[in-house]
């Protein structure tokens, strides 16, 4: 008993004496807040990275689901935590930027988030049913009526992208929202109740592989799939700026040393065999960015969507 007490006192003394920052990682566990329920895209990427990050940091890493309030409750939880690096989170980008832009109260300040890393990115593509007579975006626009698209919620990133992208293309749309998840939106195209859907390329891949869906355009600068028009060929290279990011951040004013250690750990994880294998099997485009680059990316995204503020309101 005495021995245990002594150990405790020594440990406490060591903790008190040493500057906490230099000790990172200490034995405390790191919590990564996921603002959605277990099983979704954000949850999956965090849980895939977590074991590798754990090895790199040498301390326990625990993903924690804090779902609710359209993904803002997780961000609020992170913003309230101490800026010591033990509580960080993943953010829905650009969904949160757009929500803020249209005047929604997120319950925290997106601009004050300390950005640690960007993990992955996905560009968008437009797909129709495999047996649809529609061959190109031009065909879609020449239907003689507004194009019907399927989407999850009005505030979802793909829905926002659809509204802006088809405005740029000059084609009127009816966005049928309310589908349960991105899979449901693609099945809506299969059922024929809508003409097309705009979704991340990685999500569409599962359906285009089996021939159930067919790509007619990718919102990318370069050609991704043969015979499928890219943004440049559509005559609107700016469409390639739309994307879905998986960015990791923490509370405001995190010390730079801690950010550097965490950022390096995510980089090691992104280069680990397990993560790369997972990314290949799921069609995820890994794209690790440094804290500086992630912060710059966030600024670009806010600026980009600001142009379309009126359209979104």
């Amino acid at each position: 008993m005495n021995n245990l007490l002594l150990k405790g006192v020594v440990a406490a003394a060591m903790l008190a004496a040493s500057p906490v920052l230099a000790e990172f990682p200490s034995d405390d566990r790191v919590t990564i807040v996921v603002p959605y329920s277990a099983g979704g895209g954000f949850d999956t990427i965090v849980r895939t990275f977590a074991p590798a990050v754990e090895i790199a940091l040498g301390t326990t890493v625990i993903p924690e689901n804090v779902p609710g309030a359209s993904g803002t409750r997780g961000g609020q939880a992170v913003s309230r935590a101490a800026a010591d690096g033990y509580t960080i989170g993943i953010y829905n980008i650009p969904g949160l930027n757009v929500a803020e832009l249209v005047g929604r109260d997120l319950g925290f300040d997106l601009a004050s988030v300390t950005w640690i890393a960007n993990l992955a990115q996905s560009n968008y593509a437009i797909a129709v049913a495999g047996d649809s007579p529609i061959q190109s975006v031009q065909d879609l626009c020449n239907l003689g009526r507004p194009i019907k698209l399927s989407d999850t919620g009005t505030n979802s990133t793909s829905s926002i992208t659809s509204v802006i992208a088809f405005d740029i293309l000059g084609c009127p749309i009816v966005n049928v929202t309310g589908y349960g998840g991105s899979n449901d939106t693609m099945i809506a195209v299969l059922r024929g109740e809508v003409d097309a859907t705009l979704k991340p390329i990685s999500s569409l891949a599962r359906y285009t592989d089996t021939g159930d869906l067919r790509l007619i355009a990718t919102l990318t600068e370069e050609t991704v799939a043969e015979g499928v028009q890219n943004a440049v060929e559509l005559g609107h290279p700016e469409l390639a700026q739309f994307g879905l990011s998986r960015a990791i951040g923490g509370p405001a004013d995190m010390p730079a040393e801690i950010v550097a250690i965490l950022s390096a750990a995510f980089r090691t994880a992104a280069e680990s065999e397990d993560v790369i294998m997972w990314a290949e099997s799921t069609g995820t485009e890994l794209n690790w960015l440094s804290p500086e680059d992630t912060t710059a990316m966030m600024a670009d995204i806010s600026e980009f969507y600001l142009q379309y503020q009126d359209l979104l309101k």
Binding site: K148, V176, G180, D209, T282
Partner: protein
């Protein structure tokens, strides 16, 4: 096709140490089922990190064990304490609890165990038959059919509340009002939230249900005192021995049409994403009541009222795999988490899932089957001790159940607000008991309200506001409209017939 995979999956369950995972899953599922507020979804969510280092097939057996066992676990508390352990068991309380009060808990538990096991088997058998048609089935159900199904469900509630139609309708409307709180699924606009961030995503189901059924029931019990199994039922301690379990098991075989109908309803509702087990078991219950020669015997301890919902409740797991097999999309909250586990193991759910991951899918099917049967056997073995709960003084039962339920609700999302909502709903539920308003009507309306509103809105957008013309163009929609009309008018027609008969006599 599938039979090789099915055989090898069955073999692997016996051969490897996998049977241990299955057993662990069953035990976990039973525990989570028994505790009000916690259900299969919670168990699977908590399991996700644990399965990370496991072989995918072992994870399937664990998950399958949990999924197959929770519904039977939940029926135990539904019967013994009038407190459904999981949402879908709510319908089991109607006749299960009166049986327990009459000292016939053994009969009810025996029937529930047998109905769960057989319902699970029938559901999976139907699933195997329908695998070749899975894609077609999923593609036949669009927003129009979703909407009409919810209307059918709401109609079934309205007519099933015997003798208190008006009270039923009032409770249903309150449920609908609750369902419309939060962000509009189509426009994203916030409604009726009163500036409370907690309500953005609507009124959550699990706290509402736990409050409405568990907490309110505990208030009721505490005020009444005594124990669940009433003394006045002529039960002296000698005859209070646990009997009738086997009679309960046998009753399922004598009432096989009820079992079959319950299982089929469960499979069909399970196959349709967004409806879920609560609706399945309720529809099974109400259709059994409506087609019975003596509908007034229900709610007073009719064993058929236990068989139908429990069969449906387990059969829905088989049905909810139909969309999973066809397109890799979840048919229920449990399958959503199951797919989450697959994703963690680098398996990407999608339309090709059965092509590339036959082994895992059939592994889950076998695990579900084994679990449905295993959980029932375990339950039967323990029933002798479980039933003692009904003889324990409520002074002991009430605080334990309240503490466990509130902890369960808190664990789910880690939100104190959920606990508060549970308490508020508990008081509302108690008032509803006192003033004789049906609680399940409110809950079903809450479950269906969101889907109903969203799908109707979608049909409007898709059909350019020609909703009826669009629906009449779709065969399944027409069938559903006819079914709804029949459900509504059948009781009235029966009344007219009965009256004529009386006059004739």
């Amino acid at each position: 096709m599938g039979f090789d995979a099915l055989f090898s999956a069955s073999y692997e369950i016996v051969a490897g140490g996998n049977v241990l995972y299955l057993l662990a899953g069953i035990l976990l599922g039973l525990c989570f089922g028994v505790i009000p507020g916690l259900g299969g979804t919670t168990a699977l969510a908590l399991l996700i990190p644990v399965t990370f280092n496991m072989e995918p097939l072992a994870a399937m057996y664990l998950a399958g064990g949990v999924m197959g066992a929770t519904s039977f676990g939940g029926s135990i508390t539904a019967i013994l304490l009038n407190t459904p352990g999981t949402a879908p068991n709510a319908a089991t309380t109607f006749d299960g609890y009166p049986l327990a009060q009459q000292g016939k808990a053994g009969l009810a538990i025996g029937a529930s165990a047998a109905a769960s096991a057989l319902g699970g088997l029938i559901g999976l058998f139907t699933l195997l038959l329908f695998i070749p048609l899975a894609k077609k089935i999923v593609l036949s159900f669009g927003p129009s059919e979703f909407f009409l199904l919810t209307v059918l469900g709401l109609t079934a509630i309205a007519v099933s509340v015997r003798g208190k139609l008006l009270r039923g309708l009032i409770a249903g409307c309150v449920g609908l009002i609750f369902a419309f709180v939060g962000a509009d699924a189509i426009s994203g606009e916030l409604r009726f939230t009163g500036g409370v961030g907690y309500l953005w995503d609507g009124i959550p189901l699990v706290p509402t249900l736990t409050g409405m059924f568990a907490i309110s029931q505990m208030i009721e019990l505490a005020l009444k005192g005594g124990s669940v199994a009433r003394q006045e039922a002529g039960n002296n301690p000698e005859t209070m021995k646990v009997t009738g379990v086997w009679a309960g098991v046998k009753s399922v075989f004598t009432h096989w049409p009820v079992l079959l109908r319950g299982s089929l309803i469960g499979t069909i509702i399970g196959a349709i994403p967004g409806l879920g087990g609560t609706v399945a078991s309720f529809l099974a219950y109400s259709s059994t009541v409506q087609t019975d020669k003596d509908p007034d015997s229900y709610g007073k301890g009719n064993i058929r009222g236990v068989i139908a919902p429990e069969a449906a409740n387990n059969a829905k797991d088989g049905g909810s795999l139909i969309p999973t097999i066809a397109f890799g999309i979840p048919g229920s909250a449990e399958t959503a988490l199951f797919l989450g586990i697959l994703v963690l193991h680098g398996i990407d759910p999608g339309p090709a899932i059965l092509l590339y991951h036959e082994r895992e899918i059939y592994g889950l099917i076998v695990a579900l089957t084994a679990s449905a049967v295993g959980a029932s056997l375990l339950g039967l073995m323990m029933s002798r001790y479980l039933i003692l709960i009904t003889k324990v003084d409520v002074g002991v039962v009430v605080p334990v159940v309240i503490a466990i339920s509130l902890t369960g609700v808190y664990v789910l999302e880690g939100r104190m607000a959920d606990v508060l909502l549970t308490l508020v709903m508990g008081i509302v539920g108690y008032l509803m008991i006192r003033f004789d308003y049906p609680r399940l009507t409110l809950v079903i309306a809450l479950v269906l309200g969101e889907t109903a509103e969203k799908s109707l809105h979608q049909v409007q957008l898709i059909s350019d506001n020609r909703v009826l013309a669009y629906m009449f163009d779709r065969p399944i929609s027409v069938i559903l409209i006819v079914a709804t009309l029949l459900t509504f008018f059948l009781p009235m027609m029966r009344q007219v017939m009965a009256r004529r008969k009386m006059i004739a006599e």
